[in-house]
């Protein structure tokens, strides 16, 4: 009888209650994700066709006639890729500088604080800021303006995500390179980026995900058009806005296409996500575990 379960002891009841709450929370989150996927798949899949991903809107498309959203697919690919590349050009040096030179200093904390504040700013504010800047410069809504604003939206996420990853760099490894007479810059370029490459790729991906899904920042800055942009100065469509405009339509078949556009957006994010994970795993060969 010594080991008999005592079900009604207080600490066992507490554990049971807490465990139930945790499971419930997990279920709510997983269930919501499932519902989202089910909604866009069940409503979007029937309208998804080859025509939709291979053609630009024709006359009357927004009233349910022929055409597709190739303009938005290409537009989003340009915008998100451009924005991510631009953000990367700035993020990687900032993150490495934070690690190699600022470290845990007061200045490092200031930089991190400003990035966190920037992260918290809603993207519509970035959009408005970008728009104000464009008015000032006499620019019109264009791919270039959209890319710049998206880069600003992505920058804090990418930099902080990289920073958090790079901070976990084992100091032993850094010291090993310093002991051979490396400069801090050589440590940053040769050792930190190699060791932390999978994490850096994840950070870039996170930022890309936000960039490709962001509607508010490109609304005023990139505009919307039925044509595929041929220059950086052309306005361009984007997938989030394609979803937004079509869902707001009074025509049911156009609304269905809105769900199909959302499905395309989701698939695009998934593809990029799996692709970069695969890449990270392959580049992972030499990292120290």
């Amino acid at each position: 009888m010594k080991f008999q379960k005592k079900h009604f002891e207080r600490r066992h009841i507490v554990e049971l209650v807490i465990k139930t709450i945790m499971r419930l929370a997990l279920f709510i989150v997983a269930g919501t994700l499932g519902l989202i996927l089910w909604t866009i798949i069940s409503r979007g899949l029937p309208s998804l066709s080859w025509e939709m991903v291979s053609q630009v809107p024709k006359g009357g498309y927004y009233m349910g006639k022929d055409g597709g959203i190739l303009n938005a697919i290409i537009g989003s690919a340009y915008l998100a890729t451009g924005g991510t590349l631009l953000a990367m050009i700035l993020s990687v040096p900032i993150a490495l500088y934070l690690k190699a030179y600022l470290g845990k200093s007061r200045w490092g904390d200031y930089v991190r604080l400003s990035l966190d504040v920037l992260w918290g700013i809603p993207s519509i504010v970035y959009g408005a800021f970008g728009f104000a800047l464009m008015v000032l410069l006499g620019m019109r809504a264009s791919l270039l303006a959209g890319i710049i604003v998206l880069a600003l939206v992505e920058l804090p996420i990418m930099t902080r995500a990289m920073d958090e990853v790079i901070r976990r760099m084992p100091s032993d490894l850094e010291h090993a390179a310093l002991a051979l007479g490396s400069t801090k810059f050589e440590v940053a370029i040769n050792i930190i980026t190699r060791q932390m490459l999978p994490g850096i790729i994840t950070a870039i991906l996170l930022a890309f995900g936000r960039g490709i899904g962001d509607a508010a920042s490109v609304l005023f800055t990139a505009g919307y058009t039925d044509r595929i942009p041929t220059s950086l100065m052309n306005p361009t469509a984007s997938l989030p806005l394609a979803v937004f405009f079509q869902l707001g339509s009074p025509y049911p078949e156009v609304r269905e296409r809105g769900y199909a556009a959302a499905l395309i957006l989701t698939i695009a994010v998934l593809l990029v996500s799996f692709g970069s994970r695969w890449l990270a795993a392959r580049l992972n060969r030499y990292t120290i575990k």
Partner: protein, 252 residues
């Protein structure tokens, strides 16, 4: 001492307010193995890390005094710290291979210092230093495998080869065998005994038996001070200080 390689003059080191090294004045002879001994927390590793300017990698530290390598103060403001660390190599407590292949681990240091002209020269040197570290036979068929695929003992010999490849004059060892199994430890020890004809070696150890096997010269530290320093046979057979005597007898 005629052939002094490292000379420490009035060295004081502080971690914040903690006075870690107190007025150190010692000389370390060339082409010998000097062993720094003492109980935990006595400042052995701190002293060692002032020799390659690793002490300053800690935060909130302060240092006064001089460390002269071949008569040149390495704490002079005009000194290039990367040159100091090239001349004064370090073998760490635990093996820390770099996140690259076995080959690149050895070639890395030579590359950053641009020591060789072409690929063939790098290849030749990589082989040379792997041979010195007694690792060539074991790894020459898998040079492009990750360094982490080696055993811990092999990794430490890789680190030794990597350190030698930048052509240092002094090798520091911070308890370099403490993470290794007995056979690997013995292997490293015999490498060090061979290497002392070409290099000055300074080792921190907390095992008395290892100290006796390796030491030509001994520095015994206690509470941040050098309690005793001198040729190994003198310190071991006839310690002048009560503390050293007690330590050697295993009283603490």
């Amino acid at each position: 001492m005629n052939n002094t390689h490292i000379q420490v003059k009035n060295l004081n080191a502080y971690y914040g307010k903690q006075h870690a090294l107190k007025d150190i004045n010692i000389e370390i002879p060339k082409n010998q193995i000097t062993v720094i001994m003492g109980p935990s927390g006595c400042g052995k590793t701190t002293l060692l890390k002032t020799f390659n300017r690793f002490f300053e990698l800690n935060e909130n530290v302060n240092l006064t005094g001089e460390v002269l390598v071949d008569g040149e103060n390495i704490y002079d403001p005009n000194v290039d710290v990367t040159e100091v660390r090239k001349v004064v190599g370090l073998l760490a407590q635990r093996p820390t291979p770099l996140p690259m292949s076995i080959y690149d681990n050895i070639a890395y240091g030579m590359r950053i210092h641009q020591m060789k002209k072409d690929r063939a020269a790098y290849k030749k040197s990589v082989r040379h230093y792997l041979e010195i570290a007694g690792l060539w036979e074991e790894v020459h068929k898998r040079m492009h495998d990750p360094a982490t695929s080696l055993s811990i003992g092999q990794q430490q010999r890789l680190c030794l080869a990597r350190g030698l490849a930048v052509e240092p004059e002094i090798i520091l060892g911070d308890e370099p065998t403490s993470a290794l199994d007995p056979i690997s430890s013995q292997n490293i020890e015999s490498r060090l005994l061979e290497l002392k004809k070409d290099y000055t070696i300074v080792i921190v150890t907390h095992t008395l038996r290892q100290a006796k096997r390796l030491a030509d010269h001994v520095i015994y530290m206690y509470l941040g001070e050098v309690a005793e320093a001198g040729p190994a046979h003198e310190v071991f057979t006839n310690p002048k200080h009560e503390r050293t005597k007690q330590y050697l007898e295993g009283l603490f």
